[in-house]
Structure formats: structure tokens, C-alpha cells
Point group: C2
Chain length 430, copies 2
């Protein structure tokens, strides 16, 4: 089809979106229905939002292999995990070509698992401690989740030590199973709270065995209610990985002492509200069951006993979606948006967004190419009053959303050629 494009417009307004739409075209193939892929613009572009008229989106670095998380070092450097098993450094806005040395050599990086989180010790400046979570290969066909830490020395991680290794909870699927390679998927986000404790999500509670004997996604959901398993839990740890004495189930026989809350499926976002101290976690439900939970110590968040979600074939997960004594989500998503990273904005660069939650979305309503970012406004009681979606036109899977020490917002796109994006006020120049 003959086609010619020429565009001239103010470069910092709409150009990105217009380009994105035009660029989308060549990637489109008649014999492959679906939304055409959009190439991420390489130059800054401006988007319009409801509360802030113009926000600039700056592609900081590209070429990342399925980036999963990032951490801001005190000297301005950044660490970014690549799910495929490497830890990268961004220095002066440039991605260093060589990954960080000294990573674990038993990272099992297949499909949606591999290297996940990177977090810094609150006293990183003095102790240089870096925490990582990843899917560990225990054998050729057995994996689990491990939390480790090491000391960052230049671009090398030294003195790596295990802090927590989850008991293996799943079996290898037959190779022709539609979810083969998904069996050890379990998101493990980290965040240090103001009390110095390390919070860690541990997912992996997928699927249910049905009454008729059919099995969906290996039927591990009931583990979320098993207090002798780390699967489907939020954990609270001392900085050395041990369980604090004041944890809700500490000292109880048959209970993992690290458990802080339970009844979760797969939590991909985690943040502590800096003013209220509330721990918030976004939970990746099945179809129609994504949640943001305000975590109560010892709370049961219901999965899979109560859930608004549906299996991907349409069948309801639970016959009921509310029960006395089970915690309701603070925010629910129907349809699901495949929630990922979570940031609570507290900076001064976007005053209109202060106190808002920013949630990454990898895909909405089971339609590929629909990832974006959501901005959620809460009132003074922490109740939702508005929800806006941003950056839909990019059609990117957003894996993480973070506030930088500079008060700007940073995003990672989940892609084999993933990118780090920065949101900044237009007044920030250029």
C-alpha cells in the first residue's frame, strides 16, 4: 500500500503520540490480527493528563531485556534488573554496557520468571547492601524463589548470601501444557519500611483444581491459605532475612513466622505510604480480579476463597466474592489490568499528583497491546475518588513504576527491547 507521511508540529506537543501512531503502521500485518505494535519514541514527547495539562515523557535508556525493577543509588546511579538474569547500571543517563558482576549463577530465567527485584538497604550508603529476588534453579526441573543480598563494590556484587529460600511448591508441567514454563512464576517485590523491616511479596498461588478433576495452572491457589507455606503471602523480615518476633504468626507451631498477611495470588507492586505508614500491595489476579490491598498484619485477603476473578475460560474462581472476616481490596480492577509496580507519589515536582497512587498495567481485559499506567486519587480516608489511565497509546507493558529521589516518576516497559521512561513537568525544560 502506497503511503507517505510528513508531519510538522511543535516538537514537544503530541509529536510522540502522533509519531507512535504513524510508526505503528509498518508493524501491522493483515494475517496477524491484533493491535499493531507501537515502537517506543526515542525522543521526549508530551502527553495531556486530566490534572496536569502537559507532562513530558523522556525515554532515558532503551535496550533493556525485560526489565523488572529499579533502585536509585545515592550517587544518582540506578540499578535495573533484567528478568533474563542480569543486573544493569545506569550512570549519568547512560546504560553501562557491562552488567553487574557477581550475580547468582542459579537464576532460572524462562518465560515470566527469572531475576526480579532489586532493593537497597536503608543504610546502603554505609553498608552497600543490595537485595535481590529471583527464581532459583534447584534442579533441571525444579525451581523456587530466593532472596539474597550482597555488597555492591563498584560494579561487582560481593559476599552474596541467602536470606530466604522458599520451599519448592510446584511441579514441572508436561511440555505440551499451555502453561508450561509458568510453573515457578511467583512475583517477589521488596520494600524497606520506615521501621527498618523488609517486606517481600511471594506469589505463585495460581489456579485451582476443579471438582470435575480438571486442573488449571497447576492448582496451587489453596497454598495462599496455608500458613505453613510462603506461597501467596506478604512476608515481613529483618534485614538479615530472619523473622521479626512481633510478626503476627511468630512462635505459632505450623506457621511460617515470616508471614505478615495471606490469601494473596501474585503481588507485583509494593509500597509503604510515607505519611500513613500503610503497606500497599497490588495483586495480579486472574481475569477481573486485580486488587490493591491496604495490608493489615495477619490479614486474610481471601484468595482463592473469595474473589471477584474469573479463570481465563470465563468460569468464576469462587462462588462468592465477599465473606465476613476477609479483607476487601482498597482498589479493585474489573477488568484486570495485569497490575505490576506501584508508587505512591509524594514529590514536589507534580504537586497535583501528591498522594496519588501510580500502578503499572501490563495488559487490560486479556487484550494484548493495552498496557498503560493508572493514576488513582484517594480522599483523606484512603478511599478512591478517581482513576485515570495514562500512556495507553504507547501500547507497552509497564512492569514497574517508581518515584525517583528527584521527585520524578520512572517507568519500565516489559519488553525484549525494554526501556526506562521518566515523567517530568514540561517546565523542567528542554
Amino acid at each position: 500500500m502506497a503511503n507517505k507521511h510528513s508531519i510538522s508540529t511543535d516538537p514537544h506537543v503530541f509529536l510522540g503520540l502522533v509519531l507512535a501512531l504513524l510508526i505503528a503502521r509498518p508493524g501491522f500485518a493483515q494475517d496477524n490480527p491484533g493491535l499493531p505494535k507501537v515502537e517506543l519514541p526515542r525522543q521526549p514527547f508530551v502527553i495531556n493528563t486530566h490534572k496536569i495539562s502537559e507532562v513530558r515523557v523522556v525515554p532515558v535508556v532503551g535496550g533493556l531485556s525485560h526489565p523488572w525493577s529499579l533502585a536509585f543509588l545515592p550517587d544518582g546511579d540506578m540499578l535495573i534488573t533484567e528478568r533474563t538474569g542480569t543486573l544493569r547500571m545506569v550512570r549519568d543517563g547512560v546504560l553501562l554496557p557491562d552488567p553487574i558482576d557477581g550475580l547468582p549463577d542459579d537464576i532460572m530465567a524462562i518465560r515470566f520468571f527469572g531475576l526480579m527485584e532489586v532493593a537497597l538497604h536503608p543504610q546502603f550508603e554505609s553498608n552497600r547492601l543490595v537485595y535481590l529476588t529471583y527464581t532459583r534453579a534447584l534442579a533441571d526441573d525444579v525451581g523456587t524463589v530466593a532472596l539474597v543480598r550482597g555488597r555492591l563494590d563498584g560494579t561487582t556484587l560481593r559476599d552474596l548470601e541467602d536470606l530466604l529460600v522458599v520451599d519448592p511448591w510446584n511441579r514441572r508441567a508436561p511440555p505440551d501444557h499451555p502453561r508450561a514454563d509458568g510453573e515457578f512464576t511467583a512475583s517477589a517485590r521488596l520494600t524497606f519500611a520506615p521501621d527498618g523491616k523488609l517486606y517481600m511479596t511471594m506469589g505463585g498461588a495460581f489456579g485451582l483444581e476443579r471438582d470435575d478433576g480438571t486442573v488449571t495452572f497447576f492448582g496451587k491457589a489453596p497454598l495462599a491459605q496455608d500458613l505453613n507455606s510462603h506461597v501467596g503471602k506478604l512476608l515481613r523480615l529483618n534485614d538479615d532475612g530472619s523473622a521479626p518476633d512481633d510478626n503476627p504468626f511468630a512462635g505459632l507451631q505450623g506457621h511460617k513466622p515470616e508471614i505478615y498477611s495471606y490469601g494473596h495470588r501474585n503481588q507485583q507492586g509494593l509500597a509503604v505510604h510515607p505519611e500513613t505508614g500503610v503497606v500497599y500491595a497490588t495483586e495480579h489476579g486472574p481475569q477481573n480480579g486485580d486488587e490493591l490491598n491496604a495490608i493489615q498484619p495477619g490479614g486474610n485477603y481471601g484468595w482463592p476463597i473469595v474473589s471477584y476473578g474469573r479463570h481465563y475460560d470465563g468460569q468464576r474462581v469462587a462462588s462468592r466474592f465477599w465473606e465476613e472476616g476477609m479483607q476487601e481490596p482498597a482498589v479493585l480492577w474489573v477488568p484486570s489490568i495485569a497490575t505490576s509496580g506501584l508508587a505512591i507519589y509524594t514529590g514536589d515536582r507534580f504537586p497535583e499528583w501528591r498522594g496519588n497512587l501510580f500502578v503499572g498495567s501490563m495488559q487490560e481485559g486479556q487484550i494484548p497491546g493495552t498496557g498503560h499506567v493508572q493514576r488513582i486519587e484517594l480522599n483523606e480516608n484512603g478511599e478512591e475518588v478517581a482513576r485515570e489511565s495514562l500512556l495507553r497509546d504507547l501500547r507497552q507493558r509497564i512492569r514497574d513504576v517508581r518515584q525517583g529521589p528527584d521527585g520524578l516518576l520512572y517507568l519500565l516497559t516489559e519488553d525484549p527491547n525494554g526501556a526506562l521512561l521518566r515523567l517530568e513537568p514540561v517546565s523542567a525544560g528542554p
Copy 2:
């Protein structure tokens, strides 16, 4: 700000969207944050969708004043209601300049109320009967909802007769009340089912009086549970407006015999599945409480006893959102999308969309400028398996979605300069 646009591209691919984005610019004002308004393209344009690579969107007619509903006449003409109180005719793709004569002279057209639905009798070809619903002025400060019918003679409606007049249920608000002029809002959709019965939604069950004495939106929600009121109900009528003897509450003292189901808030979409015979209604909830219900005769759909919704200030409507014996929605929207019209696609022009539901959205997540259309896939059991949003870039409020007798989809945009849009396969020619 100096600005120059020049675009040259294949006219039937992306042009509409690109134009829309560029055109958006001039409407944007720094001192009025919010998403800039997008001018609706006047020429056909093509969108990409998940299941069908390219779909053409054809603006059929513009210049409609808040269009609410449309009906397809057997001769190819169309009738379109304008909420501001007029009924228009489209003939050979042209909007006739003069509205239909003979409409009721007591239409109260303020804010979100006025003329609403137009529907044709199943034997319209022989009896020329046209049914209308509207907000009727009973006095300067009292309104209600009326269902009338008349005989269409050319472009004049004759022999208008009242079929159902709802008892007034609300009081006039003080003029400085934030919802003043909203007190008689109550959506009244119509559809004839294959059994020859006329189904009619009757909304108006807004708001709750709170324990602390504050009143939100006049506190009429409890009427949805009152079987002696038409408010917050789905009604089932004979074609003359009388109540069929086999209605679920027929003959019961203190019950309105027209009631078919109850516990609704404000249902703006209504369609009968042509294969299963199930009556589906979309319900405009408050924040986070929009629903699509598969209606059971006599069913209680829970409003306001159980609801996932929140008042617009964030407070939950109900302390629980599930209760034994109350019907659950078939489809829930969290956040709300301000559901409007509903079509169940059964045509042969979009084979990939057969059996899908199409739902209009006027606004998502309380953010103006976010209306669109949703396509919902159900499995063979009527359970949801995917949900796609279409036409977000237009930033239009979509008030109605209908399948035409030609197997194409028709949309109305809710705007003072509203339009009728048609979705057609690209193969249908330019």
C-alpha cells in the same frame, strides 16, 4: 504558541486518529487543565482492533443536540432522539432539517433529562406505532418519566397517548445544590422482546441519606427495593402499556404489576439476546459500580443493599457487596465507565464479533474526556472471557450503541454537537 501542521497519509488509515490528536491542540488551555477536547473527524477513518485488524468509522451525520437513542425504520430511514426535546429523521444518510412534528409539549429538558428513548412496535410496518420515553414536566418544579406512543405519519407523530406515567418520586433541589437540575434524571430505555412484550428500564434510584444526616443526590436509592414504586426497576409491559398477567408480581397487593426485576440504580442499556432470549441491561452505578445484568424475572439486583460502588466522595455505598439471594452482575466495571447503550452483535458483517456485547461508555474513572465503546466476549455459558475498549482516542461520550438492520454498528455521541457514527468492515469500500 506558533504551530504548523501538515499531514499527508493514506486517508483511510490512522488519518482520523492523527487528525483528532492534532486538532485537539487548539482547544487546549493552560488555565483549564483536563484532557483537551477532540473534534470528531468529519471524514471516515480506520481504527485497529484486536480481533479485526481494520475497522472503518464513518461519521454519518453531525449537528445532533445530545442524541440519546435511535431506531431503524423498515424503509432505511432512522429516527434519532435529541435529549433537548426533539425527534429527528435521517433519510438517505442526511439529517432532515425539520424535526418530527407532534411530539409531547411537556418535555422537561434540563441537564441529563429530557427526551430519551425511541422504539418501534414490532409490527411498525403495518401499525406505524412509535414509542417514546421522556422526562415530563408535571409542574414548574415537579417532573417524572412518561412512556407514550403515537402513529408516525410521514414526519408527523399523531394520536399520542400515555401508556405509563411514573408517580413523581423526587423533590426539587435547592438551586445552590451541586446536583440541582439532576433530580428527575431517570433513564428509560425500551426494547421489544421476541414475546412481543415491551421492556422498559426506569432509573432514578440515586443516592442515599446517610446515618449522619447528610444527603447525597436526594437519597432516592432505597426506592429501588420498594416494589410499590417504578423507580429503580426493569418493567415488562404489553404493547399498550398495561401489565402482563404473567409478570412476577402481578396481582400482589402493594406491588406495581409492571415490575420485572428490581434493585437497579439507573439502567441505560437494554437488549434481548436473540439466541438465548436473555434480557441484558447495563446499569449506570456510582463510582466503581457499573453492571451488566442478565435479568431473571423477579430478581433483586441488590441496589443499594449490596453494591461494589462508592459515592463520588469515596465512601462505600454498602458495607458489603455480596449477599445470598441477590443477583450478581454478569459483568462489573471497576472503575465505572458510565455505561450507556447496549448492543449484542449478531450480524454477518463482523463475523469475529458475533455474539459480543458492545457497551457505550460516557466517562471512565470520573475523568472527563474518557468515553469510548467496550466490546465484551462471552463464552458459550455467557461468562466473560475478554474486554476490549475501542475509540478511546475520540474522547467522546458514547450514549448509544446499536446494530443496524444492515449488520453494521451505529453509535451516538453525547454532545451538544453530537454525531451518528457507523462502524463497517474496511472491505465495505471507502
